[in-house]
């Protein structure tokens, strides 16, 4: 049988499985499915609609867009981040011209890819398509991801590449799979250096699943090689020296510059421990036309992040309670901890997502903890929503009606906040009604 015929049969089989699952689902589960579908379609529309407004640079775009343009002109890139994001952006400018559609095109494409990757990842880690569907819908209906799909900035693209890398990690069976994972980690690191921390959850995923040999993890040594190759390609495009010594000096200067930045201050600074509660989200697109305002705020969907935070607090309390409860020696305590961590609802997939969450927070909580901003939380938040997708899918088996209420609340909140995520035309007094806490306002 040809591969085309196999694919066609597999597609038909998938459709049959889907219709069978729909037929056997309860009324609450069907209603939840419809709401999840609305979240995904709404998320796509909110990402695309009028993305080219404002037509001028917004937020940090002036640091990146002219440098992306420079690659097309063969001029030096003077930005202090690795070059790959700007090279992606130059592809957009090449396709659509030097305008806001061109420089926001890559962020939009990767932003939509993140939804698909969330589906595949949720399905692969939690072994159920329902977890994938939940994760995709949560990413679709969250303002943090929507706003970063609508702007010429790199963090949304970074998240997409990190999820892609984790997908490769969970699919790896031999050294080839490890190599693909390492290449993707190298590509993510070439967008933003903090991306290198993905190596930790990716490697632990492979070890926990036990499908690849331990020595094959040495392949992650190609990460800096990929980074160097991208830098050299960028240097060639911008007609800069392409020898390794020049590259080393350039990268060293930038590293020192980033270390030095930790002594700087900025009115939008926020500490990493305030990020999970969205104490100070940034409005990354903020324009005025007459009496009307157009905002794109990075505040996440409160139903999602409060649920994640409650789960984290509950898990922490459980761990402390089991470690400190009386009875038994150290072995008994460790056994109780282990039972909690590998049992339901936590289990390996949730632990791996938590590890991804913590790993992507590490650069900002350990390395550069002073000059930091809420949007650095985006990669961690991606893992948090994936974890939430798995947990909600698990809960739905026991309490489908409760999950329906949860999803309904999340959708209502998304509809309520959509105007300040997707740049609707609103008057200032309405903005203040939507952005209730004063720290959310510009």
């Amino acid at each position: 049988m040809t591969s085309l015929a196999v694919t066609a049969r597999a597609a038909r089989s998938a459709w049959q499985r889907m219709t069978a699952a729909w037929a056997s689902a309860s009324a609450a589960e069907r209603a939840t499915t419809i709401l999840l579908g609305i979240m995904i379609v709404g998320g796509v529309v909110l990402r695309i609609r009028a993305i080219w407004y404002p037509r001028e640079f917004t937020f940090d775009e002036p640091f990146f867009v002219p440098n992306a343009h420079n690659y097309l002109l063969g001029i030096k890139d003077s930005n202090d981040h690795p070059p790959l994001f700007k090279m992606f952006m130059s592809v957009g400018i090449l396709l659509f011209g030097f305008n806001s559609a061109g420089w926001r095109f890559p962020a939009l494409c990767f932003g939509m890819l993140s939804m698909l990757l969330a589906y595949w990842l949720g399905k692969a880690y939690f072994r159920t398509a329902r977890a994938g569907l939940m994760a995709a819908a949560f990413i679709a209906a969250d303002g943090f991801f929507i706003s970063y799909s609508r702007v010429g900035l790199m963090d949304g693209i970074l998240v997409s590449l990190l999820l892609w890398c984790m997908l490769a990690a969970v699919s790896a069976r031999t050294w080839r799979g490890v190599l693909v994972t390492a290449l993707l980690a190298g590509i993510a690191t070439s967008v933003k250096w903090s991306g290198v921390f993905i190596v930790i959850p990716a490697a632990v995923t492979m070890l926990l699943l036990g499908r690849v040999r331990f020595w094959s993890l040495l392949i992650f040594a190609v990460v800096p090689v990929v980074q160097a190759a991208v830098w050299l390609l960028a240097a060639r495009l911008s007609q800069e020296p392409t020898d390794l010594m020049s590259l080393w000096r350039h990268v060293r200067e930038l590293v020192l510059h980033h270390v030095e930045m930790n002594r700087s201050s900025n009115p939008l600074n926020s500490s990493w421990y305030t990020w999970p509660i969205f104490y100070r989200p940034v409005i990354i697109k903020n324009t005025t036309h007459g009496l009307f305002r157009f905002y794109s705020s990075t505040v996440g969907n409160p139903v999602f992040w409060i649920a994640v935070d409650l789960f984290l607090v509950w898990s922490f309390i459980q761990l402390v309670a089991r470690a400190t409860a009386g009875g038994g020696g150290i072995r008994a305590r460790l056994a109780r901890l282990r039972d909690f961590l590998v049992g339901k609802p936590v289990g390996k997939p949730t632990l791996l997502m938590l590890l991804g969450w913590a790993a992507m927070l590490a650069p900002w909580s350990i390395v550069r903890n002073k000059f930091s901003f809420t949007h650095y939380y985006l990669p961690s938040y991606g893992f948090a929503l994936l974890m939430l997708g798995g947990l909600v899918a698990y809960a739905e088996r026991k309490w489908p009606r409760a999950v329906l209420v949860f999803i309904s609340l999340a959708l209502v909140m998304a509809i309520y906040l959509a105007p300040i995520w997707g740049e609707f035309s609103i008057r200032e007094r309405w903005v203040n009604r939507l952005l209730l806490p004063p720290t959310w306002r510009p």
Binding site: R12, S13, R17, A20, E56, A101, C109, L116, H289
Partner: protein, 178 residues
């Protein structure tokens, strides 16, 4: 219901990440189609299509009659005899420019902001104006562009510096379409 025939496509470890690459290209193509359908070339350009110095555009504005007092701009600059009613420090300009030469900010129905003079002096605007919000169509003759300008949209509002260059011109032959 007929039993479900289970045929699963089992991708190998390299196929899975490649599938994501294919998805990225498909998404990129779909976005390109949507951008083209939505006329991105007309919407995404930094300057409005055909809005050049020396050109005349027909523009449509929505106003309320109080906008005469509410809308104002502040700048030191004078372009072809047209200037704002206020200095950059928010003091009223002395002597007060006549109505035909005082610039005010307007936002047209496409959400494009412009500076125009002469709207309220136009013959079509001299009669009794509607008490509700109304639409005006004018000829807009662009005489220049200025960047160092602040705008005010409420009577007691503060002047906010604009982030972009604004076209400057005269508004003539304004009529309230019936």
């Amino acid at each position: 219901m007929a039993p479900v025939e289970v045929v699963r496509y089992v991708p190998n470890e390299v196929d899975v990440p490649l599938r994501a690459l294919l998805a990225l290209f498909v998404i990129g193509f779909c976005v390109w189609v949507i951008f083209s359908w939505a006329r991105y070339d007309k919407n995404a350009g930094q300057t409005e299509q055909g809005w050049h110095k020396g050109t005349r555009q027909i523009i449509e504005l929505t106003l309320v009659r109080e906008d005469h007092d509410r809308l104002a701009c502040a700048s030191n600059l004078t372009v072809e005899g047209l200037n704002c009613g206020y200095y950059p420090d928010s003091r009223p300009r002395v002597p007060t420019p006549d109505e035909a030469h005082v610039l005010r900010p307007y936002c047209n129905i496409k959400n494009e902001v412009l500076l125009g003079a002469g709207l309220w002096d136009s013959p079509g605007m001299r009669g009794a104006l509607p008490t509700e919000r109304f639409t005006v169509v004018c000829n807009y003759d662009i005489v220049g562009v200025i960047k160092s300008v602040s705008t005010r949209w409420e009577l007691n509002g503060k002047f906010d510096p604009t982030k972009q260059s604004l076209p400057v011109g005269t508004l003539t032959d304004c009529v309230i379409p019936q």
